[in-house]
Symmetry: C2
Subunit: 266 residues, 2 copies
């Protein structure tokens, strides 16, 4: 694909829109406009990408070759309904759990460009090893999206909507829930005046260990050792935090059950 031939409008100015926009911009894709329903957000991203911006859906530039919808999944249908006519162009979303056919009835050519990564506005990220999952309703656009993705990353795969949804579910466990465990452990430390950064080497080794070991074989801690006495002591510390206590209990039970299943399998 010749980037110059593919003028892009980015819809959304959140975490994904920002980081994907920056990556496209740095790879010299011509981004001709940013749309966000919040003018301040549209302006911030528009300026970062040195391009036009609008908060008025009727002012969306209809000359683009590709419209990238990087907005909240729940907002997508209403934006699609109100889009100005741009029906010769390719419409693309970037979501894990939204099926391809969300576009059906709104336009002719559509696809998905899903980067499997966690994005925040303020943290710049290298795209080269982010896996991209591609889908389109026609093979020409599938190829086009593949080329766009390959210009950002080395890992590009074609995945159906169904498979992509499973991937996204796995990512919720591996990333969103994991990050929340970081929050909970940080809470324990901060409550007692201990610097949270003390946990960083442990957290990072835990994440790197599974490069070498299957996570089941990397498991350590009281639950996998069936150390009921220590588990009891930990639950006691959490007596005043019923939700955290229940999370501790449930994850310990799951570790212990997974171990039994693992032993049965071998």
């Amino acid at each position: 694909m010749n980037p110059e031939k593919n003028k892009i409008v980015i819809l959304g100015a959140g975490n994904v829109a920002t980081q994907l926009g920056l990556a496209l911009y740095e790879n010299e894709f011509p981004i001709i406009q940013v749309y966000s329903r919040t003018l301040a957000s549209a302006e911030i991203l528009g300026k970062q990408l040195k391009t036009a911006y609008t908060a008025n859906i009727q002012d969306i530039n209809t000359e683009a070759d590709m419209y990238i919808f990087a907005i909240k999944d729940s907002a997508l249908p209403s934006v699609l309904k109100n889009m100005p006519p741009a029906n010769k162009s390719l419409w693309v979303h970037v979501a894990g759990s939204v099926p391809l056919d969300v576009f059906a009835g709104y336009t002719e050519r559509y696809g998905v460009l899903y980067p499997l990564q966690t994005f925040s506005k303020s943290r710049k990220i290298s795209f080269s090893n982010i896996p991209f999952f591609i889908e389109a309703n026609n093979s020409a656009d599938e190829l086009l999206l593949e080329n766009v993705a390959f210009s950002l990353s080395d890992k590009v795969m074609r995945f159906s909507s169904e498979k992509r949804k499973l991937l996204h579910l796995a990512a919720v466990f591996a990333c969103n829930f994991t990050n929340h465990l970081y929050t909970l452990s940080t809470q324990i430390l901060e409550k007692h005046g201990i610097d949270r950064n003390i946990l960083l080497p442990l957290i990072q080794e835990t994440a790197f260990k599974i490069n070498d070991l299957h996570p089941r074989d990397a498991q350590t801690g009281p639950a996998v050792r069936n150390d009921d006495e220590m588990i009891g002591q930990h639950l006691e510390i959490l007596d005043n935090q019923p939700l955290m206590k229940e999370i501790y209990r449930l994850l310990s039970e799951s570790i212990s059950r997974d171990k039994i299943n693992g032993e049965r399998d071998t």
Copy 2:
């Protein structure tokens, strides 16, 4: 401390005993013996550390200056009870949640040398940035343990048993439970024939992101966006896995509640 003056016996041949033993060995501490109740394990670690080994507690060398108990917390009392007399030496354990005074009544000089890290036998690890937490029942041995720890790592702190237990509880969330989430996400992928390695860049970015951002500010995903429709779809996929479904539900609730509390605080 002059390492040559401190002959060490390591009790245990599991994950911590192996990695700590290797680190001490490489730093030229004279390890004079390895004890494990399983002879095969004692032999493997003894050979790695080029030293004597035994599975007979009565054959433990009584000439050491330091005995490092790196055994299962639940096995500690019975080993202490059966130790041959070595009462002039320093006895040390390496556990997060075992109080210092577990040694009281068994010997005169005792302490704790707790490395905050996850260890597996087969994965070699750099000790230089692992935080060590030190405690002893007398100030001379506190200093001695501090010196031992500083010869392995740059980060050494004195922590009470009570504070160390909180730290260990936080580590269970940040490491043991996190690793189990990796197992669950891997299960989802493997069940559908998708390579688990596809998640590694996401997992590693999640762990590194909190170098820059407080984990609360790094949170992404359906729960923090209150995307109830997607949460409902994910729960539906997990219909046949009640324990995993409950984990999904509970962690989503905790993320959502944490967000509300965070907004109230600011």
